[in-house]
Assembly symmetry: C2
Homo-oligomer: 226 residues x 2
């Protein structure tokens, strides 16, 4: 497939392992990748550095970071002065950022319209995840319906697609898929409180899910812990 | 109704006449108003000054402006280096900002969750409007469905409501409703290219719709033209 005939896709890239695998899968499907990160005031901003590197390493056409100040609405351990817990409890944890995926997909939708892209990819996962409501298949389907009503493309008869290729995969499946695709997971940052160099705490929910995934897949954990 | 028993609502306030009337209607319904503006890089940033004043004059509990850099994705005469046309043509005009209402409602949704508010108001209108896809009733209904799947509140059994009280009103109806509610429309800014003092050009689509609304309602146009 030549550059000219390639279809474009917007891929949300956080810097973590899930979105890296998602980007590689979108590329494997033949899309020209426009990688999008959102700087929303997250405490683990070193993930944005990782996102830029991943986008480049995995062959994105371009990488853009859009800034939105979600600290001004607060309400989460990731954006407000609330401690990140050492392990998940029952219910939706304090690391949930209200409406984060809705906001990020909305920005992706806007950029997709500008680019004339009909495909949006995100790395949400509803198996080994933190119980966030906006990671479930029914959320993704509702967003797809909204996207087709919200946009000029939708009105003009394009079908916008929202892909969440990892949504039913276990973290071990994701780790294996990443290895197959040649991803160097040492460069991905999942930790909710990674240091400025991207090194992980090893204790938060994101670290725990990631470590369990590598263990279950029998892959040596390449995470750089501090 | 006492302050304590009042239900809270997040109201999107742009600084224009529609959202001013929406805010006043929400207040009339007894809600404690948390007014939200979005600074997205619009060329007519004087509307944000108007929004803050309107929120205060109409009795909002608080007013917050969230900043998001939509200039970085461009694609609209309001956020990129594209001229604002003097009059609307066929189809969706260049003043359409890709996914703007989806993004603004998503931010409102996030703030509503933080506040514990189940009600969001926005001033979209599908009668005398510029033909933007994200102003139609089916868009609002799709967003309501998404909101209830996207959030902790939705998962916990709350019903989130998305109110668009002006959606089927003509601009003349909106003007009359504003007069009934005591709104001073001289302080609202609708123009796409208002000057820094909020004075209108009198030529763009937004100015035209507004002027026609006052004329049809037989209300003297209070707009400050430059």
């Amino acid at each position: 497939m030549t550059e000219q005939s390639q279809k474009s896709a917007v891929v949300l890239v956080s810097g973590g392992m899930d979105s890296a695998v998602t980007l590689a899968l979108a590329r494997e499907q033949g899309f020209a990748i426009h990688a999008l990160s959102v700087s929303y005031g997250q405490r683990h901003s070193s993930e944005l550095v990782a996102a830029a590197r991943i986008a480049q390493e995995l062959g994105a056409v371009q990488h853009k970071t859009v800034t939105i100040d979600l600290r001004s609405i607060g309400g989460s351990a990731l954006t407000a002065d609330i401690d990140v817990p050492e392990q998940g409890g029952d219910g939706i944890p304090v690391t949930y950022v209200p409406a984060r995926n809705t906001i990020m997909l909305s920005i992706a939708l806007g950029w997709a319209e500008v680019l004339g892209a009909d495909d949006i990819f995100c790395g949400v996962n509803a198996i080994d995840y933190s119980g966030y409501p906006d990671c479930r298949p029914e959320f993704i389907e509702a967003f797809r319906q909204l996207a087709n009503l919200a946009t000029k493309s939708g009105v003009e008869g394009h079908q916008l697609r929202v892909h969440a290729p990892l949504i039913r995969m276990s973290k071990a499946d994701i780790a294996r898929e990443g290895i197959r695709l040649g991803i160097d997971f040492a460069g991905t940052v999942s930790c909710y409180q990674a240091d400025t160099d991207g090194r992980a705490c090893g204790h938060c929910d994101a670290c725990r899910l990631r470590a369990e995934g590598f263990a279950a897949a029998e892959i040596e954990d390449p995470t750089r812990y501090r």
